[in-house]
């Protein structure tokens, strides 16, 4: 009930942010075939893909009826606030939500990019993969304007970790950094095959509330060490392509930040579809005596153009659906409503003399 009340307010907030959402049309209305019987209301919407899609958006979205399009805000309305973008792997945040992270940092947030695994499964050898991905996390953070941090749990084996120990360390960080807002893979990301994603999502979700004053009896030694109770109030859960089946109640217009997103992805040399892919394609064509004008005349340009033209297409397609150039989608969870003032007001209005 409280959640519904909050969402009701969020609609008004969304209108203030960017106007009414352009609700997506069912598959049939977009020219796609559907055998949905007449009179049946779809409960999930397939996400359209570009022909050259890198499968970076989920297969399906379920849209909340109070969906909000979050647009750019002038000035620095978030000055003094802190966001932590948690990712299992060096390319998770960059691929799926770095546009929104960049937007919020530009609007005043201080940001931290926190990688939880050691990414050892992406590299020529385990050692070289770990080192390259550590560098990538630092470089991606730099591209986004964040400070980097890594935990180094073993890649693809995080379901073998004690989630309570991960949570302990996350609570420490949330308290230390006084994080207001988190980004993380949706812990309810259906059909996600990667255990690291689910473990990190769940650990972050549980850590957020346990770090708060309400969870003051969680790890009290951290408070004795001088840390203050945590204060996370907003969560942006992002989905993972391509198997996802995600509830979306927030679409963020990242059009102004698409180049930052591209640069963050180019920084990922150790894994992910971007990195040096443009340069490698350019070199391959050169060996064949060809060139692609799109890729320009140097490797940096090739990497940027390749990533923007091919890999951002899914976010362009998604944006088009909502009337913006590029978009990212989230299940957004905002501040819990404070019910006590309502009770106090009732008492003040109705209390009578003895």
């Amino acid at each position: 009930m409280e959640r519904r009340q909050f969402l009701g307010r969020a609609v008004a907030g969304g209108l203030a942010l960017g106007g009414a959402a352009a609700l997506p049309q069912p598959a049939a209305a977009q020219g796609q075939s559907s055998n949905l019987p007449p009179g049946t209301t779809p409960s999930a919407y397939s996400v359209p893909r570009a022909p050259g899609s890198a499968l970076l958006t989920p297969d399906y979205h379920t849209y909340a009826d109070n969906l909000v399009i979050e647009r750019n805000q002038p000035g620095k309305p978030h000055r003094g606030k802190v966001l932590a973008a948690f990712q299992a792997h060096s390319d998770d945040i960059t691929l799926f939500c770095s546009g929104t992270v960049a937007k919020l940092i530009d609007e005043g947030y201080t940001g931290y990019l926190i990688r939880v695994s050691n990414d050892e499964k992406a590299g020529r050898t385990v050692g070289s993969g770990v080192v390259q991905n550590e560098i990538d996390n630092q470089e991606a953070a730099k591209a986004l304007g964040c400070k980097p941090f890594s935990f180094y749990y073993r890649n693809h084996r995080m379901d073998d970790c004690a989630i309570i120990e991960i949570r302990q360390r996350l609570i420490f960080l949330l308290r230390l950094l006084q994080v207001d807002t988190v980004f993380v893979m949706d812990p309810y990301d259906h059909y996600d095959e990667n255990p690291d994603h689910l473990v990190v999502g769940k650990a972050v979700e549980t850590a957020c509330w346990m770090a708060t004053p309400g969870g003051g009896r969680e790890y009290p030694e951290q408070l004795k060490a001088g840390l203050k109770p945590g204060r996370v109030r907003e969560k942006y859960y992002h989905s993972r392509a391509p198997e996802g089946h995600n509830l979306v109640n927030r679409v963020v217009d990242i059009s102004s930040y698409i180049d930052v997103k591209v640069r963050a992805n180019v920084a990922n040399k150790g894994k992910g579809p971007a990195g040096d892919s443009g340069a490698r394609l350019r070199q391959e064509l050169a060996r064949q005596g060809k060139r692609l004008p799109l890729l320009g005349n140097d490797d940096d340009t090739a990497n940027f153009q390749y990533t923007k033209h091919f890999l951002m297409e899914d976010f362009r397609t998604l944006g088009r659906r909502f009337g913006v150039e590029y978009a990212e989608t989230f299940r957004y969870i905002g501040p819990e409503p404070d019910y006590l003032p309502s009770i106090r007001k009732y008492v003040d209005d109705h209390a009578v003399g003895m």
């Binding site: 941090f149 935990f151 004690a162 309570i164 120990e165 302990q168 360390r169 420490f172 960080l173 230390l176 790890y219 009290p220 030694e221 951290q222 004795k224 060490a225 001088g226 840390l227």
Partner: protein, 314 residues
């Protein structure tokens, strides 16, 4: 069995009891540790880590009192929630042990108390790395030099809370000095700090010991600590016996005229036999046994010394 129901032949079902009559394990030369003059340990910090309310009071409260008298600052950490001891409901046991622990720590003079509340008797089911992480934070932030705890390798240890605690302490001691373990602590300005001296309890028959600590001058403080162990450890046995006898129209002169005196007298008369036994071979009135490990390195390494003595100008 609830010890409060058996007054004449109490079953000491607290977590700390064991027999003194045991073969001695070969642990090298046994050193008799006597009181030192002044405050030679000024500036140093120790942490006494136990699983249950009555572990430190019985195994090591004499040593704790001695070290604090000699300048150490002491902290006490209880890892379990003690829910299985107290003779009442599980919830009431947790509360009464919590309150007893606080009073017992105050009686010994500890600067602060940490209660971690892992589930009593079930600690071999917890995440050891979670416990270790918490101990590392505490050791680092308090800059713990010395720990007093269970011997993780001690034989005959039936209680899983004891060996899980001992093992986590041993691991945390050296990892607390490694900057890449729980490196987020460094972000908070909490620096690596290894605990290099260890006193492991002599907790069960046959466990090794190489230190016999003369606690004669601290026995009153030890009694002060033990009498606070009411939920377990028979700290209030004297007053219970006194009350029972009064209901039968009797009294025991040993127990004096009030509950406090009764508890203290009972502890002194009946519950410190081990300490007396441990002292006897060394002509000490009371003693505690420990397996002591010193991991302090030399102030100068062999390599540094060689370089200092042999380096020549280019």
């Amino acid at each position: 069995m609830d010890p409060h129901n058996s007054l004449i032949n109490p079953t000491l079902d607290g977590e700390a009891f064991e027999s003194a009559a045991a073969p001695q394990a070969d642990a090298g030369e046994v050193v008799i540790v006597k009181d030192q003059q002044g405050q030679p340990h000024q500036g140093k910090v120790f942490a006494a880590i136990h699983a249950h309310l009555d572990d430190i009071p019985y195994y090591a409260s004499g040593l704790c009192a001695k070290l604090m008298r000699e300048g150490y600052t002491g902290y006490i950490i209880r890892t379990s929630n003690d829910e299985r001891s107290g003779g009442h409901s599980t919830a009431e046991n947790i509360l009464s042990n919590e309150q007893d622990h606080s009073r017992m720590a105050a009686a010994l003079g500890f600067k602060d108390v940490f209660d971690l509340y892992y589930q009593n008797h079930d600690m071999n089911g917890i995440s050891c790395i979670d416990l270790r992480g918490r101990l590392i934070l505490i050791f680092r932030m308090l800059k713990v030099d010395t720990i007093i705890s269970f011997n993780p390798w001690g034989q005959g240890e039936e209680n899983p809370d004891h060996w899980v605690t001992g093992r986590a302490v041993e691991e945390a001691c050296w990892m607390a000095g490694m900057p890449n373990d729980f490196h987020e602590h460094l972000l908070a300005g909490i620096q690596p700090h290894a605990a290099t001296e260890r006193y492991y309890f002599y907790a069960r028959p046959g466990q090794p010991f190489n230190r016999v600590v003369d606690i004669g001058a601290h026995i009153e403080t030890k009694i002060d600590a033990v009498v606070e162990c009411k939920s377990q450890g028979d700290g209030n046995r004297g007053s219970l016996v006194r009350a029972q006898l009064a209901r039968q129209g009797k009294r025991l002169p040993l127990l004096g005229d009030d509950d406090r005196s009764a508890d203290r007298a009972y502890v002194r008369q009946f519950l410190l036999d081990n300490d007396r036994e441990y002292g006897k071979p060394h002509n000490l009135q009371y003693a505690e046994r420990f397996y002591y490990i010193d991991r302090r390195g030399p102030s100068k390494s062999k390599a540094d010394e060689y370089i200092e003595n042999n380096a020549v100008r280019l």
